[in-house]
Symmetry: C2
């Protein structure tokens, strides 16, 4: 434990709390090798990326195979409101408390933020106040290149799809075969290794290309992709709304082969979901290869490996599979890794980061991992998708709430950007808080259903009153929470979350039940959707014709055994964002059903999800610049 | 020198020469900190990116301000042919000779390859045989993320352009002003720092937004971009031909604001050219801010800073400005940095890498930097653009030639991919070689015009005969070369280029003339174009109507003092790729004239230049995979 002590840093806090960037810049981070050392990592276990970031090699898991895991804690939230709940801040603050004040080994596991919002509306995502990951600019920009690798891999696959259709359209079977398996100098043809995957799928066991019958040649060389079935889109880590819907192939050389498609933001790529759910390099190779990009005209799913590209995608992603080590303001370790969308994907950081972290902290230590959005979305998917693939079992779920947000759930007035906050949010109103606790209560009860102990963390604001705080505490305990604790880590750093840390420790040590999934995998797609809808408070589910059709197709294609990843608004338990609190009795409409076969889930669409944000008239980038004398980044928020 | 000795590695060569990837994988690279140490760099001077790459911080130049520079050598080639000249291989081999056999301090400066060709047709670009940069996979993939940073910055600017037009179209002056300079809590407005650049351009010296007259508000908030004038395109580091020409803005939220545009490959971005030509962080900030994206409807150039984004672009590029240190097979240091297109841009690696390298090797040491394509394009731009901006003076130009390529210039038969090589290239034909030397001779004479000593390096193949090699040597000396040397570094590593190393050393030590540019900057655009055309052998220049118009516009806008970057086919001195040898008397047609104002050059188009390659039916990616047991990359070529 002695090495760990050396990385812990005393924070000097001031009041009022300065701007996030000023706090972040006021602390000189430790060299990341010091943080690594505190986790007993030797230089062979990681690759440095500058002085304050390191990629921890996945091989660490194999090396520590025999040793035990630490406690596993997931942080979710109540249903989000425009007022913010401070979930990331609480995740960081809790870890600063455990590491810097309670003398525990602890690792925080966070998602990598997208650069789109950093330059657009939202700003960065490194926590806030005295609970932050530093250096804040490195956290928010490029990091160690994982999202760039995803963009590169996603778009290489996209280029391969259109080009393959183009070449198939203009060449005979024989010409295609000649190019795909060209004879060498001695006139002998051979298959590339990746081609055996397609051959096997076609039921062809021959290994010599020259032995293929003309019919087999045709089956082998023609993917015969139905352009209208292509679900694979291009991606970019930029808020570029003009790419949402585009027409490609309008150059003269593309001979009129135009097609309507579009770009998503990079974190919406299936490859991001694959990165988050994979468990090893070999597993990632297989998942990337079996990603389905669309169907053949005969209705067969076409995969990345059919295009011969699964290996190349893995090569592009081979460094991205290693999580990035950083540190909090108080010198505790953080692993940043993956950041899939929380609606069309599962919104959780990576399995491999959690696995590495659990071994590194060991028995008695803590790994705190954040799930996106409210607990109905992020934490539900943490349990039913992420833990299902990882085999890991959490002991405690933290649910973060604020008095303000609960007031809104209790019927408080709408919040309008740019207008002053309504009086109701700034002065005591216990009744509004109590009314809003129905939202918290349903999240608690849902989480308890998984067999974990639930601890509520109330992220306190200076305007909150004792009576309001105790109303939340009472409601939480009444709903079955293990404990409910007020915390002030935004203003005080880890010191402000010590009570939360103690509660989480007790919750973990008193956890005795096995993990209970919400649904088994071997039931039908509809049954699974209905189990999740029920947890939202829905009385039933309604399927569009398109949804019915897709469910039938996926079932026929053999994909019905996958877990379900609901793409629903995060702003309500229901499908209607304005329904705060705990709506019930509604019928959940499923408009469409899609699948990320490589990542390993089916995702029903409850409404339309935007997968490419836009820029406002005055984006964050107006403030962002570099001090050319010092090299310091200015204006990041 | 003792540290340097420790990094030099004995190569064991075998014959026949194994595949490039097998040679690369057979050598265990040194930890890059060892290479850094051999250059007297302390850990404060660089950031590690894994074990085999490090970014050398630009501040090293300031620190070594007082110390002298080494010899500066540029490597160009004869006019390229499909047979290949091995220019990168020769650049690496020469450095291996200087460093590992002639006991000189040496740094090789190379361009970062694009990932597009790596997965497309060409394969990697790390040299070949026993003259390579290692690790080869890291060199060819991601490197330290510079090209990804360029992609991100380029596309953020693109998104900002379309979104700004969109917001201006739907908002009144007052609404735009309200959003661009929103009042704070106290009701006070302020300008973002970057806005003062636009205000200054508009001749408005007020610092309080509230004091602007309605007319000034309108001028300030309305860029009034003419969509048909936009020259800024999006980029992607992927060979995606279907993005060459696209229509954007077809989503319902974009309200019919569709526009035809397209993607270039990332290395064609002006930001890549800026990176290659910048001299400091402050200089990069200014160049990025003054990049022109199109005109206002009134014909005024609109810059990145008008859009408020120059600072944010610099932040995205702030790590990319530091070159990446790697090593050759024989343990000599390499700086990899920037890789602009060699026709629409200037095709040379960065000024900052060369500057750092010249200080690190110091007096008596050598920096060898490669220029793209033939010497008529890459080396011409090296002299007239790169050296003009850097103030650096080369002592020696190496021109690489092969017997095969010279035979083609002498009238040898066409080479067809997939067909066996014609007999003429495989057996002795001195006459053909002699005839082809007219190409070499013109390159020599052009290079001599800059006041440097010219050394010809003949990259030898096993089929070359003594008589052929001596024919080249005679022709080179007759054309004014300082020396002409046969080298076998592909088969033997540095040992095979020792004679070339000695010749280069002598050439440098005997160089006495100042650098003479081909044209001064203060003449007209047309006069500069004509000076370059003359060096190609042209008897005159013909301008299209469009070219005339653009020359007039750029002159009116005040950009006529910039150097010229010809966008011409690399396969001939003339504009007709099939004209081998040394054509003359032709009239060079200028179809259009464009400008990269931030990078700092005007580029006339001699014919159409493709700025987005495509994928063949069987791209390189079919062979590329990772060994999931060892993590080793397979199939890269």
């Amino acid at each position: 434990m002695s090495e760990k002590m050396t990385t812990v840093r005393q924070l000097e806090v001031t009041s009022p709390v300065p701007a996030d960037i000023d706090i972040a810049n006021s602390v000189e981070p430790l060299h990341i090798s010091r943080i690594a050392e505190s986790l007993n990592l030797s230089p062979d276990h990681y690759d440095l990326y500058g002085k304050y970031k390191a990629k921890v090699l996945l091989s660490v898991v194999d090396e520590l195979q025999g040793s035990g895991d630490g406690h596993y804690v997931v942080v979710g939230g109540i249903t989000p409101t425009p007022l913010g709940e401070g979930k990331s801040t609480t995740t960081v603050g809790l870890c600063q408390a455990l590491g810097a004040f309670l003398d525990k080994k602890v690792v925080t596991c966070l998602r990598q933020p997208s650069q789109g919002p950093t330059f657009g509306i939202k700003g960065g995502a490194a926590g806030g106040g005295y609970s932050q990951v530093i250096p804040m600019d490195e956290f928010n920009l490029h990091l160690t290149g994982d999202i760039h690798a995803i963009t590169a891999a996603n778009n290489l696959l996209a280029a391969a799809i259109d080009t393959r259709i183009f070449h198939e359209a203009s060449q005979s079977d024989k010409a295609l075969f000649n190019r795909l398996c060209p004879p060498n100098k001695e006139g002998k043809r051979s298959f590339a290794n990746v081609m055996f995957r397609r051959l096997q799928k076609l039921g062809i066991s021959k290994t010599n290309p020259d032995e293929l019958t003309p019919e087999e040649v045709s089956k082998f060389v023609r993917l015969d992709i139905d352009p209208s079935s292509i679900t694979w889109r291009r991606v970019m880590d930029v808020n570029d709304r003009f790419l949402r819907k585009i027409t490609v192939g309008q150059g003269p050389e593309e001979k009129g082969m135009v097609r309507e498609t579009g770009f998503d933001i990079s974190v919406a790529s299936e490859i991001m979901a694959v990165l988050a759910l994979t468990t090893s390099l070999g597993d990632m190779r297989e998942r990337l290869g079996r990603m389905v990009i669309g169907n053949s005209k005969a209705g067969e799913p076409i995969t990345a490996d059919d295009l011969g590209i699964g290996g190349a995608l893995t090569v592009l992603m081979k460094d991205a599979i290693n999580p990035t080590l950083m540190q909090t303001l108080e010198g505790t370790p953080v692993l940043v890794h993956a950041g899939p969308f929380a609606n069309i994907a599962h919104g959780n950081s990576s399995i491999v980061a959690d696995k590495i972290a659990l071994k590194l902290v060991g028995p008695g230590g803590f790994v705190v991992t954040e799930a996106g959005f409210g607990a109905d979305i992020g934490a539900e998917k943490f349990m039913n998708i992420k833990c299902r693939y990882s085999g890991l079992v959490p002991q405690c779920a933290v649910i973060v709430a604020t008095i303000r947000a609960l007031k809104m759930h209790g019927g408080g007035p709408q919040v309008v950007a740019g207008k002053p906050l309504d009086h109701a949010y700034l002065s005591e109103n216990v009744a509004l808080v109590e009314a809003g606790c129905v939202n918290l209560a349903r999240h608690i009860s849902n989480m308890k259903g998984y067999g974990v102990n639930v601890v509520v963390g109330v992220n306190m604001f200076s305007t909150d009153t004792k009576a309001e705080l105790s109303a939340v505490k009472n409601a939480a305990l009444a709903a079955g929470a293990f404990d409910a604790v007020v915390c002030t880590h935004h203003a005080h750093g880890g010191k402000g979350a010590v009570d939360l840390g103690i509660a989480v420790q007790r919750a973990c040590e008193n956890q005795t039940q096995p993990l209970k999934f919400l649904y088994p995998l071997d039931i039908g797609i509809k049954e699974k959707i209905e189990a999740i809808a029920k947890s939202y408070g829905a009385s039933g589910v309604e399927y569009s014709e398109q949804a019915e059709k897709q469910i039938e197709i996926y079932t026929k294609q053999g994909f019905s055994g996958l877990p379900i990843c609901m793409a629903k608004t995060q702003y309500s338990f229901s499908h209607i964002a304005s329904q705060k609190g705990a709506p019930s009795g509604f019928v959940l409409p499923i408009g469409d059903v899609r699948a990320s076969i490589g990542a390993g889930f089916i995702y029903p669409l409850v409404g339309t999800m935007s997968t490419m944000p836009g820029l406002p008239t005055r984006p964050c980038f107006f403030e962002i610049d570099v001090d050319v004398a010092t090299g310091q980044v200015m204006g990041l928020s």
